[in-house]
Subunit: 270 residues, 2 copies
């Protein structure tokens, strides 16, 4: 029997019916404070994926992190706000006790083949095997769950580290242990990028994502085709200003397909 992959363990939900679920935070994906936001997003998306009335596959998914999430139990409720012929709109809420800790909205759809064209350009990069694995960060268990190999823009918060010219990161990243890609792992991967603020300016300050959106360009067949190969991630900020910075990211498959684009806005203290 195959052991359960950590991300499947961490995103497991107990189905209570009518779109209601119970779950628990996982210490395997702990962050410096609270859980890794990417896995919270994956749990919220999973509440849609497990819903018996789900139509099609995820196209867009937005998570708002409304407050700190404590280690332990939570409940999720997922509602189809509207179901059309080929698209469906979802509202999801995660609560701990009576407090709303996260909200999400999503759109799923049945795709059809159409004229298609890729405009974004994947950077030219060495193979993962030619790059060194980035060390895990002791205080953030989730970094042990990903094999990251930076081409550019890693994290160095050590004393004397110099500011970077810009906040762009380019890295190969995959689940560790390797796991075939699906929507659950892809949405978590979309949040795998270290905070742009720390990449640009190597000074630790309190930060936290407040809103996170992923657009899925890939369908499940494309994800399956990627298998457990590493994806190439690219992330950059456009502006840091008075407490908030944005991040735009791309996730590319091993074969050069653009699997997802993702955006977030992040609070920082100073």
């Amino acid at each position: 029997m195959q052991p359960v992959h950590p991300i499947d363990d961490a995103t497991r939900l107990e189905v209570l019916g009518d779109g209601r679920y119970r779950g628990e935070t996982s210490p395997l994906y702990g962050n410096m404070v609270g859980p890794f936001g990417g896995v919270i997003a994956a749990k919220l998306l999973n509440a849609i994926l497990l819903h018996p009335r789900l139509l099609g596959e995820p196209i867009a998914f937005t998570v708002n992190y409304a407050g700190p999430i404590a280690d332990g139990e939570f409940s999720i409720e997922a509602n189809a706000a509207r179901t059309n012929r080929s698209t469906q709109h979802w509202s999801v809420e995660l609560r701990q006790g009576e407090q709303v800790a996260a909200t999400a909205t999503g759109v799923s759809a049945a795709r059809r083949e159409t004229w298609s064209s890729l405009e974004a350009r994947r950077p030219e990069v060495p193979l993962p095997s030619e790059l060194k694995r980035f060390p895990t960060l002791g205080r953030a268990a989730w970094t042990e769950r990903y094999d990251m190999r930076f081409v550019k823009g890693g994290l160095d918060l050590s004393a004397g580290a110099t500011p970077a010219e810009d906040s762009e990161s380019v890295l190969w990243v995959r689940d560790d242990p390797p796991r075939p890609l699906d929507f659950v792992s892809l949405v978590a991967l979309s949040d795998v990028f270290f905070p742009r603020l720390f990449v640009r300016r190597p000074v630790w300050v309190p930060i936290g994502t407040i809103s996170f959106t992923t657009y899925f360009h890939a369908d499940s067949a494309m994800l399956a085709a990627n298998g457990d190969a590493a994806t190439l991630g690219v992330a950059r900020a456009q502006q840091f200003r008075n407490g908030y910075f944005d991040q735009s990211a791309e996730l590319w498959g091993a074969d050069g397909a653009l699997l997802a684009t993702s955006h977030q806005i992040v609070y920082y203290k100073e």
Copy 2:
């Protein structure tokens, strides 16, 4: 007495109390089919801005267009899902009859001065006065409400028009008649870009935005400083694939400040 600006007329909501509002679509911002999505977003944001418990100013705002909106009345309900010390999370729903036609989530916050840095680069462009105004599109009344002056990537769906090399547009755009910039007009401006599909491939097919996110980098003082000057918009798609394409956009102030970044994913038929 100053006449009411069309966008103030179009986004006016009757306050029913407890975050409930009644409004009407405006023929002044009609699109080829139904209303212009940017003004629907502006109405939904206005329901947050008019809320007596609003904390701070908008930081992030996501609208999901759940179904077609018919000309006529609608109701909106805005709820503060969670209020923290300096941030607040909103859920908003627009209904026509019993049907949910749009949902939105937003985050507002009290900003503080921090280390700030602009990374995105504003393209070098001629002044608006050196460019010709783009003609309005007869079938889309909303295009008469904006003065658009294209540097690159205008719309030409006439017979014999040639496909563009890429989907990027660069244009000066402001309300017509001119109006001082605020959050309501800025969120509408964030959706002012013609569909990337039509810019790239000059063939009309049915399309519709399904999810639209704007990050506000500007506070109200920055918006006020822009006055009624034109903003510089930049928009591009990253991928068109099997019925959905994305768009990422920037809105720059006349003085070179990055006011907002905005992202959307759009359905297209073929």
